[in-house]
């Protein structure tokens, strides 16, 4: 945690670190979802340092059948990837994603926060209704903050569930991100003059009207 200030003096001393580690272990084991450091500390006795306990716990599970993994600012226990073959029984049938949905997902992940117009600009075709809907529904994508460009279009960003699903600690760990950035392929380079693909941009401007209606008085 960024918060490095010393905790206020407490009447009761925090439990020993070994005990804190046990607590974190129990909570992470009990939960299917990642648990944030803040939530861990909210459950643990006053004065505990979940972040430090996590460092110990993570080391303890290195090379074991399950691992302590980080998902965004939360932590979870997951099986080791090399043992997936044992788990056929647990495999859940994931909804098959269309090629359009997969590409849209990748574009949002690598370009986030990313507007619909940007997705269309990159793919060269308009994004069909169901595509983003499906990604929202799977909770791999959510609405981000509006872009400060004309029309203030909404943006899309990936969710912690997305990171969890693909085993990423954060969106910065996306494979090949650095190389793509260095190659300038994540830039939003405006077309010189008028390109046919530029068209969706206008659409977004029209969106302003629709939007302002909502916030009338």
């Amino acid at each position: 945690m960024d918060d490095t200030e010393t905790p206020p003096e407490s009447l009761f001393a925090a439990p020993p670190m070994a005990e804190q580690e046990r607590m974190v272990e129990a909570v992470l084991f009990a939960s299917a979802e990642p648990v944030s450091v803040r939530d861990l500390e909210a459950r643990m006795p006053h004065g505990c340092d979940a972040a430090e306990a996590l460092v110990h716990l993570r080391r303890r599970y290195e090379g074991r059948g399950v691992r302590v993994v980080r998902v965004d600012d939360a932590w979870a226990i997951r099986t080791a990837p090399d043992l997936g073959f044992l788990m056929q029984k647990e495999t859940v049938e994931t909804r098959k994603l269309s090629r359009a949905a997969i590409e849209t997902l990748a574009i949002i992940a690598y370009h986030q926060p990313c507007t619909r117009a940007e997705i269309e600009e990159i793919r060269g075709v308009s994004v069909s209704r169901g595509t983003i809907d499906q990604l929202l529904d799977m909770e791999w994508v959510r609405f981000g903050r509006r872009k400060m460009t004309p029309g203030r279009p909404v943006t899309f960003v990936v969710t912690p569930q997305f990171l969890d699903h693909f085993g990423l600690e954060s969106a910065r760990d996306l494979p090949g991100l650095k190389e793509l950035r260095a190659a300038g392929l994540l830039e939003n380079r405006p077309p010189p003059g008028m390109l046919p693909q530029g068209a969706p941009e206008d659409d977004e401007v029209a969106g302003v009207d629709g939007q302002s209606e909502l916030f009338e008085d």
Binding site: A30, A32, R78, T94, R123, G124, G167, L185, L195, Q197
Partner: protein
């Protein structure tokens, strides 16, 4: 994106056939950019060294072939064809100093950038989907613990629920039979109720319009509705013998006064 050694290799017969075979499956492409990307592979060079001029030729030949085979191409394919024909002329002809706007080289460079970026995103998508995935390669806790000691109910809703709920309400209006928006309509009942409360103070002749409720002159529609309702309510009160009305001439202001019971 590895460099390819066959950089300037002329297009082989096999590649030409492959390019033409694409015509059979025009529906399989996700738009002109996707088609261009597929065509560009026949050049067998790094996307950064692609000959856009050659690509334009291939694309235009593709569109021509489709015409011969009477395959109907979607409008965006034709728009792209027109644009590529324009680009081709810009690339081939010496620049016209009287014309401004981007040069052919700039346009070609941007198209090459678009193709490279699309390819990069496809590669990235493939790498992403190839990762160890939760529920397939990596597994979460199968049995999250439920110690049923304290049963607190929390209510959950997702952003999607919220937006769908809102969308549901907002679109319901699109389907209801036409009804006047009630906030711009003063009903006679409302006016009557208001007038009953006010006529006690109408000892002397007063203009009808001064009885319009506050705020109802903000738009013509609201003013008309309020005037009509107030007038109708006045007539009703005249009928009840509680009010007198007068008008000096046609279109002159209508005035009203309380009528004392005899």
């Amino acid at each position: 994106m590895s460099d390819n050694i066959f950089q300037e290799d002329p297009i082989s017969v096999a590649d030409r056939l492959a390019a033409e075979a694409l015509i059979v499956d025009v529906d399989g492409f996700e738009g002109p950019l996707d088609l261009l990307l597929t065509l560009s592979r026949t050049q067998k060079v790094d996307l950064r060294r692609i000959s856009v001029l050659e690509l334009a030729r291939q694309y235009l030949a593709f569109v021509e072939r489709a015409k011969v085979l009477r395959i109907e191409l979607a409008a965006d394919y034709l728009v792209m064809a027109a644009w590529l024909a324009f680009l081709k002329s810009r690339l081939l002809l010496p620049p016209d100093p009287s014309e401004d706007g981007p040069t052919g080289e700039e346009l070609a460079a941007h198209l090459a950038f678009q193709l490279e970026r699309l390819q990069a995103m496809r590669d990235a998508a493939a790498r992403l989907m190839g990762r160890d995935r939760l529920g397939r390669d990596v597994f979460a806790r199968g049995q999250s613990e439920n110690v049923a000691r304290i049963r607190t109910v929390t209510w959950s809703a997702t952003l999607l629920d919220l937006m769908q709920g809102y969308a549901r309400i907002r679109t319901r209006d699109e389907f209801r039979p036409f009804v006047m928006d009630r906030d711009s309509v003063l009903t006679m009942e409302q006016a009557l109720e208001r007038m009953r409360g006010l006529i006690g103070f109408a000892g002397s002749w007063t203009d009808l319009t001064s009885y319009l409720p506050e705020g109802w002159d903000s738009t013509p529609m609201r003013r008309r509705s309020a005037t009509a309702a107030t007038f109708a309510a006045s007539l009703e009160l005249v009928k009840e013998g509680r009010l007198e009305l007068r008008q000096s001439e046609t279109f002159a202001p209508i005035q009203l006064r309380k009528r004392d019971p005899h």
